[in-house]
Symmetry: D2
Subunit: 302 residues, 4 copies
């Protein structure tokens, strides 16, 4: 299994009463597959994993497994405040048919690198699935140096990818490449905000929630063929949209998914903020400027 290319992070669709909308869930998954996704990651930050019950997690995983039908790797977020529970979630994801798990450390009152190493070792013992190590201090409030991540990667063979989301990203990616003795995929996140720099550093793909995987596919393809002029041209064309979408708050992202026909409601679970006043109008203009007359509800040409 290769964790590379464009692996969208999926939002979890809710009905307007905040209950799970599994119909939208399946439509969202099929849409992403049709748009060329090389894998799918569910139950991450954008998936509001921290606002779900364990039973809801099971429903979402099972439904995703059924819908994906093994066509691409299905990565399941299993980050948890407790290591034991993270192991339980990982084992459960494996039992339900996931292809890999994604795991970030939990902030503790006193930072302790040794315990972060142990976290990955323990979860690796709880599941035979490959692990994606997520380095996203903006959500975890945990800072892992490149040296620490390299040490984890080199001592936990089942880690096959790093989701590199610590800013500034380019020097961190460079340091990870230099310091990891084991080869692992390095995937960019953060809504592709730093796409041209991350691609120039030789990332293996994107693992992020930007709602237009077609755009990311085109960038990866251009970068892999050495055509960085095209990477920059694509970035220039979509930068305003990328910047708008990566703002704090998930409602903007879910609203774009809704407009693309992937999900029925942009509802974010409380206490997450609803779409801010004025955002719909900004989006109207951005989408018109970026895609002209194209029908957003189909795979886009970029």
């Amino acid at each position: 299994m290769m964790l590379c290319g464009v692996i969208p992070i999926l939002a979890t669709p809710f009905n307007d009463d905040e209950s799970l909308d599994l119909v939208s869930w399946q439509r969202l998954i099929r849409f992403m597959l049709d748009a060329g996704a090389d894998g799918l990651t569910i139950l991450g930050v954008l998936g509001e994993a921290n606002r779900l019950t364990d039973a809801e997690r099971d429903s979402l995983i099972s439904s995703a497994v059924t819908t994906v039908e093994g066509r691409v790797p299905l990565v399941v977020g299993v980050s948890h405040a407790g290591t034991f529970a993270a192991g339980v979630l990982a084992a459960r994801a494996e039992e339900l048919g996931a292809s890999a798990v994604m795991l970030a450390p939990h902030k503790e009152p006193v930072a302790n690198d040794e315990r972060i190493v142990e976290l990955y070792k323990r979860v690796a013992r709880a599941t035979s699935l490959p692990i994606v190590l997520q380095d996203h201090p903006a959500s975890t409030e945990v800072q892992m140096s490149a040296a620490l991540i390299a040490r984890i990667v080199d001592s936990v063979p089942s880690i096959q990818a790093i989701k590199a989301e610590a800013v500034p990203t380019a020097p961190k990616i460079r340091a990870l490449r230099e310091q990891c003795k084991t080869h692992v995929a390095i995937l960019a996140g953060l809504g592709a905000l730093y796409a041209p720099f991350d691609l120039a550093e030789g990332i293996d793909g994107f693992n992020t929630g930007f709602a237009f995987p077609e755009v990311l596919k085109a960038m990866v393809s251009a970068a892999h063929s050495g055509n960085f002029a095209r990477v920059h041209a694509l970035y220039a064309r979509f930068a305003a949209l990328i910047v708008f979408e990566q703002q704090p708050g998930l409602a903007v992202r879910k609203e774009i998914l809704r407009r693309r026909g992937m999900i029925a409601s942009a509802r974010v679970r409380h206490p997450g903020a609803a779409l801010p006043a004025g955002s719909a109008l900004h989006l109207d203009r951005l989408l018109a400027a970026a895609f002209g007359g194209q029908d957003l509800s189909h795979k886009l040409e970029v």
Copy 2:
């Protein structure tokens, strides 16, 4: 139902492999009842609730309900990053036989008082149980002013108690008394560190994990009969123990419970810290000084 007096917060006992130890759980509960607890709170911070799976929560609640047999109120912590899930946990606690739920707000990227009010309103709609509002910024990183808490209490009738753990506690308790129009119980926490001041402010009891409810009972009793000289004498006698126990890290607390014979292992779930080097020796001296030759595994005379 009255939420007052001494309501211990229970630790969750684990075996050395970090699995649940339900035998110790029942022993712990019975011990606390025998020691005179006026209620019990489970699945709070000391209960490592954030390191449990939902299935483990169910086991612990059911086992506690069975063991308590309705003799005292059983309060179940239901704090969750998501409001919807907190409501589900509250409904589930009710279904399993709990007497009340305890709820603290979750830190959001942008603080928003309105959403905290909504949190309590929504959970109150999800369960018919009374609610204990927990104000513990040290664990939640959420600051609620006395005015905000009063507003919540006055607009959510099912809130029957406030667990007042924002330092400095005495002026906060005073402000809550002045600003809440509705009468609610105010309970002190924080390991009873501020016991003499909190009692002088007229609290209705303790809701904390200090492993010697006998001591807290004696203090409450002295305070209620106006004997503050005895409150101070009790505090002086046990202050070193109280101070030692309330230090960050749960292992010290669990070690005391173990020494009292309530639980079989002081194990804290990873990534929680184990008992620090030297702490066992400090405890030996403290317990000897505080209780002399008494057998800690029985209800103590204070």
Copy 3:
């Protein structure tokens, strides 16, 4: 005096031994004036104000006053952990010839809106200069609601501008416009990352450290003439540069200033991070792509 248009935030130039470089300081100021700056702000976050002694502040202010010669407003940052000292700094800035002061609140252990109102009232009493209220939670860790800012603005007449840097910026700017009864200028910051959205919300200008005021001037001019197609075209052209520059760490910004010939060294004072590995190469490409063969050491045509 009008605080609008493009008001660059100036970096403080240091020699390689971290001592003040007042020669570069004057060159930097003259360059910005020649490039069309409508005002200048010194001693802000980019100015590493928190790493300066009071004597160094005096030197920088005096030198700036002399160099600006009153051609445009000179705004001096006076944020301080203590209100009394902020007042002293404001009075001193006035004495030395500044045109206005910029002030952000200081994070306290317990957040308290009332004290933030008092801060602005007290500093307004300490100086007769106009005040720019800075709302930048990323550096202050203080969150001010639009309602609080409106209350401050409406009760402190000397506040003449808001530097609106709380994300997401567009809805905050909209809310400020709606809730402030007094008219004040609203200026965008954050390296112009959200320029098209901020301009669409009707900001009065930019108050930020982006090293190409020519670009910001062109955007403001386009927006004021209603030509948002040009705003978007400009943003697309410079977005990669804007995104690169606004990354955490001031060294990238100072390196661009150095390349433009404004300052002699990109040195950031310890413990600030030096230019990360690889960043020089990214910059080479970005500047070549954005400005082609133009000489960066002169005012650029955009």
Copy 4:
């Protein structure tokens, strides 16, 4: 010079208009010397150093040097957001006659142990004075492992003492003793809250703001003669006072100093909180209980 025994941290006295009260300053210093202080530390957290201008620092240092007349070591806090400025403050303290400086690291967006080592090395080059390394995460938000502190101590010979204020303190002190190859004094802080445990770990003294150095002297003396029963008896007698005083907010501490006649006003500089409602009454009772009929304005017998 020995940095051991009881070295009070001094509050900075202000008049009711928040201006410096140098008369009280000298009275405070003389009082502490008369009470048996083995040294004095000024311009720390309790000294509200972060709310002072550089000119005020100079006044306070000069006045203290004059008043102390070399009888005991005078330690001056020089922590600053910038390393260069910390060096300037240290050199200035030396020039004005200080005996040593106290230095804590500054929180940076990305934690970096190497830069903390450099901080101490650089300040050690800026002054020939001995350095007290302060480890107080509660105010700095910087966590230094025992291994990091040992590395700093072993590579910066002028560090002669560690102010050990990271909780839990006892295991940290133990680890520092084990890991530092160089002998340095270890001093307890945190208002002496953990006095019996810190003393049992063999600390060399107290470096804290507790307003009764007589009590700390008695504890140190008892511990040094191996009389831990007396240590515990003293702690029991004064625990409620110690606990009350170490609560967040400096006003309580300054109020006690005022009652002892050391300073004229308990004023804390804005935005620091004033004495909370009810605190005066709690203090009345605590002081009466702890010291009976003794005149607090003289050296107390304990």
